[in-house]
């Protein structure tokens, strides 16, 4: 097993609420969390939100309860797709995020997301009655590509009708994917909507997962998602490029005309 992770903490502009969310997650035993920014693709002229740097959000990250390391905070973007629209696969705005998720609203979009889109997570809607039937073929396609399906539980805490939808949608997903490639996360807006990892693992039993699968849904599967997100920025998961910050502005200027040294070729700027 690997460390426990909650990969969906809803972003709000309220800084103190975000801080208490992260502190509560660390207290509950989560070693890694991801702050989720939602982006509606249909709203015209809406720009992809820029993630707040973690340093600005919290100066000192809290230590995870029972361990000696601070909690790790990632940035995640969820693109809500509800119409036929172009999803820029290699948009520059997306590269600022560690994880990329989509929430398809129709069966056709779900099919597209499972087979073609370069994402890490496909979110299953829990706030409405099953919008489309989840078929085995796209689910298997997504599993082969290493994409995970996500079920959020905080809606179930807020409202009893949502509880029914959450359980119903999750059970049908688990029947189709046979418990593989599933992560459970909170989508919490307030600290009180977070629950501990072992509690969520028990919730997984309600959804039809086995003991081992339910525990994996909060640990190993989340680790796979994070690694998948890291490899999205690499070439084939092997080569990683990093822009080197320019050392001094002098190097980029042309040498002065009255320089005594003979004209020499400008040194190539190295990119490692």
């Amino acid at each position: 097993m690997s460390v426990f992770m909650d990969l969906n903490l809803s972003y709000t502009n309220d800084k103190s609420r975000m801080q208490s969310l992260i502190e509560t997650a660390a207290h509950l035993g989560y070693s890694t969390v991801a702050i989720n920014y939602t982006y509606e693709l249909t709203i015209k002229k809406s720009k992809v939100p820029v993630p707040t740097p973690i340093k600005d959000l919290m100066e000192k990250l809290p230590i995870v309860q029972g361990r000696c390391r601070p909690i790790r905070v990632l940035n995640r973007l969820t693109v809500v797709m509800s119409e036929q629209c172009h999803f820029k696969k290699t948009g520059r705005e997306f590269s600022a995020y560690d994880l990329l998720a989509v929430q398809p609203a129709t069966e056709k979009l779900f099919h597209v997301a499972c087979f073609t889109l370069d994402v890490d997570i496909i979110c299953i809607s829990v706030t409405e009655k099953r919008p489309f039937i989840i078929k085995r073929s796209p689910v298997n396609g997504a599993v082969e590509r290493g994409i995970m399906f996500e079920v959020s539980y905080s809606a179930a805490i807020r409202d009893s009708t949502m509880r029914r939808y959450t359980i119903a949608n999750a059970v049908s997903l688990v029947e189709t994917c046979k418990g593989k490639n599933l992560i459970l996360s909170s989508a919490a807006e307030k600290p009180l909507e977070l629950r501990g990892p072992y509690d969520i693992s028990n919730l997984g039993l309600l959804f039809g997962l086995s003991d081992g699968d339910a525990k994996e849904a909060v640990s190993s599967a989340c680790r796979s998602v994070v690694l998948h997100g890291e490899t999205r920025k690499t070439a084939g998961g092997i080569v990683h490029t990093m822009k080197c910050c320019s050392e001094t502005p002098d190097q980029q200027e042309a040498p002065p005309a009255d320089c005594e040294a003979p004209a020499a070729k400008r040194a190539k700027q190295l990119t490692e």
């Binding site: 000696c68 059970v171 049908s172």
Partner: protein, 356 residues
């Protein structure tokens, strides 16, 4: 909408029950106590008793001290001097502290000189030493166990196996954990060389005593009578130890645990708990002292001793691998009677091997 029928089942647990006598030549009690190396808590329930008799108290107070080293680099356990003064002479008991067996890398050093490292996938691949996948991996192999016998000739200082592990722990993985350490019979003196190099503190086991009044307990007359089944008895012992009410009153929804029938009421009882890194040797001394205590006439002729192992230890009984699924319990409960007979119940959780 179909839901799985197994929702009413709790995670798997194992309970082994045994009845024997201390006078029986074939009794395995000594081996069973010795094999649970890392004991976290020992609790004793003495019925019809309000204060512990002096001999028993002195045993509690003379449990071995243990040492906590902060941020110990694990390669130090391979130090030649440490091996010669501590590991080869007597028994070293060491287990990593504040590491979770299902999340972090855990280390254990058993008295026979076996070093066990329970590592996650990344750490195992970086270390580069031979190991096996954990028995409790589910779909993916995400946990690996490296088990090394430090007393074996291949692991003698300077040997190839030794060098490879030392290089791996020193330069490649650089594993550091807080470590609990104890030595029998040398005590702190044998560990001084290692302790002096790092931030260490000595700890005495913590003793706590509770007097319970009007305790309802199963009518345990003699060991011959089948008084109650092991599961209900273990639930009752756990409830008493955790100070959970067994009244099951209609107005309280906190606990529906009940004392198994047939039951009797004991006007007072003493519950003593000792917590820390406790050695099997001390547990054995305690058992002998309780036997002496029971030889004298008492109102109730039984005493219950429960020993809990560490939930996050990489090994439980012997060198068997241990892990945590929902709970990491590995403990045994010894119910001793006046006629030198006993009932022994050994229990483990889902991710564990069968107790001896």
């Amino acid at each position: 909408m179909k839901m799985r029928a197994e929702l009413d089942q709790t995670p798997r647990s194992l309970l082994v029950s045994e009845r024997s006598s201390f006078r029986d030549q074939k009794t395995r009690i000594r081996a069973q106590v010795e094999q649970l190396h890392f004991n976290y808590k020992v609790s004793v329930l003495l019925p019809e008793c309000c204060s512990a008799p002096p001999h028993l108290d002195s045993i509690f107070n003379t449990f071995n001290s243990f040492y906590l080293i902060r941020n110990l680099p694990v390669y130090e356990l391979l130090d030649k001097n440490f091996l010669e003064t501590a590991v080869y002479q007597g028994s070293v008991y060491g287990v990593s502290y504040r590491t979770r067996i299902d999340e972090d890398n855990c280390v254990a050093l058993t008295p026979k000189g076996h070093l066990t490292l329970s590592l996650d996938k990344d750490s195992f691949e970086i270390l580069g030493v031979e190991g096996k996948p954990s028995r409790f991996n589910h779909r993916t192999k995400c946990r690996f166990v490296v088990s090394v016998d430090l007393t074996d000739s291949s692991m003698a200082p300077g040997g190839r196996g030794y060098q490879r592990l030392l290089t791996g722990l020193r330069s490649r993985l650089q594993l550091k954990t807080d470590f609990l350490l104890s030595h029998y019979p040398g005590g702190g003196a044998s560990l001084q060389a290692l302790l002096s190099r790092y931030d260490w503190s000595e700890h005495r086991p913590q003793i706590s005593r509770h007097t319970l009044t009007d305790l309802s307990c199963p009518a345990l007359l003699t060991s011959d009578l089948q008084s109650c089944d092991p599961h209900s008895f273990m639930e009752w012992v756990g409830a008493v130890d955790a100070n959970v009410s067994c009244e099951n009153s209609s107005s309280s929804f906190l606990s529906s645990l009940v004392c198994p029938e047939p039951r009797t009421t004991v006007s007072r009882a003493l519950s003593v708990s000792v917590c820390g890194l406790l050695l099997p040797h001390d547990v054995h001394r305690l058992i002998q002292e309780i036997r002496c205590y029971l030889e004298q006439p008492h109102l109730e002729s039984w005493v219950c001793l429960t020993v809990h192992g560490y939930a996050d230890s990489p090994v439980s009984w012997g060198d068997n691998e241990h892990s945590v699924l929902k709970g990491g319990e590995n403990f045994y409960s010894l119910l001793m009677f006046q006629d030198d007979t006993y009932h022994l119940h050994l229990a483990t959780g889902a991710h564990d091997t069968c107790p001896p």
